[in-house]
Subunit: 203 residues, 2 copies
């Protein structure tokens, strides 16, 4: 009790490492990312607001991307791992790898994370900008830049249409039978679309 109270008072001072520090960073990060966007937000500003040493961001989250993923996207994995996994997949099956990755991840959280994310995007212009910056600069451009023959940016946005649409129909609007379809059924139907958007003919 005394410790908590003391920390409450010297909120912008330094805190020792621990679960408390981690949570303080996540909360401060969420505020700063929403205020300033992904590119505008700096690790130094977030750490200062949390009253934590900036080095702890690398220690706990592996950098700004990982902190963003946990604070805003609430992904249960690090975006660098996504890029690594997608690039490790057979380039002719990257479409299927993407469908399985997103649907498995969102299914595991009951779709609540996706719904919260879309609510933010529909209500706050900043959230859309943040999501765009994050996915494009830190995930899709790495994967599509490596695998696609041309038109990388347009292909990345085409991929986004199909991924966002899957999430909207499965978790937000809950249109059946898509909402309850087995992941294999979804992957078989949707993977060829993503594969064409990444490596196939689009013009």
């Amino acid at each position: 009790m005394v410790t908590e109270k003391t920390q409450g008072v010297r909120r912008r001072g330094r805190r020792p490492g621990g679960a408390d520090t981690r949570e303080a960073l996540v909360n401060a990060a969420r505020e700063v990312f929403i205020e300033q966007g992904f590119d505008g937000a700096t690790v130094r500003v977030i750490a200062t607001r949390a009253g934590v040493d900036a080095a702890m961001v690398n220690h706990w989250f592996g950098g700004k991307e990982g902190l963003f993923a946990e604070a805003v996207l609430k992904l249960p994995f690090n975006p660098q791992d996504i890029v690594r996994d997608l690039l490790a997949a057979d380039p002719e099956h990257v479409g299927e790898a993407i469908v399985r990755l997103f649907v498995t991840t969102w299914d595991n959280t009951g779709g609540g994370v996706f719904t919260a994310l879309m609510r933010s995007v529909a209500s706050h212009e900043e959230a859309a900008v943040m999501l765009r910056d994050f996915f494009f600069k830190h995930i899709f451009t790495h994967v599509i830049g490596r695998l696609a023959p041309d038109n990388h940016d347009f292909r990345a946005t085409l991929v986004a249409t199909q991924i966002v649409g899957m999430g909207m129909v499965r978790y937000v609007a809950k249109f059946e039978p898509f909402a309850s379809a087995e992941i294999d059924t979804v992957a078989t139907a949707v993977a060829p679309t993503l594969q064409r958007y990444i490596t196939g003919k689009i013009d």
Copy 2:
């Protein structure tokens, strides 16, 4: 002034036809559809709430679908016309016809209608149910039921993923270059996806 006040007092009585009647019906319909969903709402209840003769719904809107389209979807066309146009298209190009129909319509309203619709769907379970009932029972099942070889319901939801995703990326998240792409560029890239979802191999 006196007329308005009188009408305000006898709000649930009958009104004469005219622009005033039309607006009263649209406003009452929006309330009733949101409260009771598309299937639950009846023309009689809507007309009573508006203080208007139920016959005016057919007179002004051609029925419940047309009233829903104007009150909730704010579509600048009647859904029966959509079905007729899509069925008139060459079955091998129905995918392209769908992309062009939706993107042209939404582009003409600056995307605001789509954004408002998604905000409702993301925030109110009833809005999602209403949208699903409407699109499935009154648009897609007519088109897909006529053109698709099998799995009509699953195919209809696959089509929904790509249409909703296009709208989210173009109008809500505004990811470039998709958000500003020419309609021909969008149609060329996306039409084969919808065509496969309706008439092609999905399993």
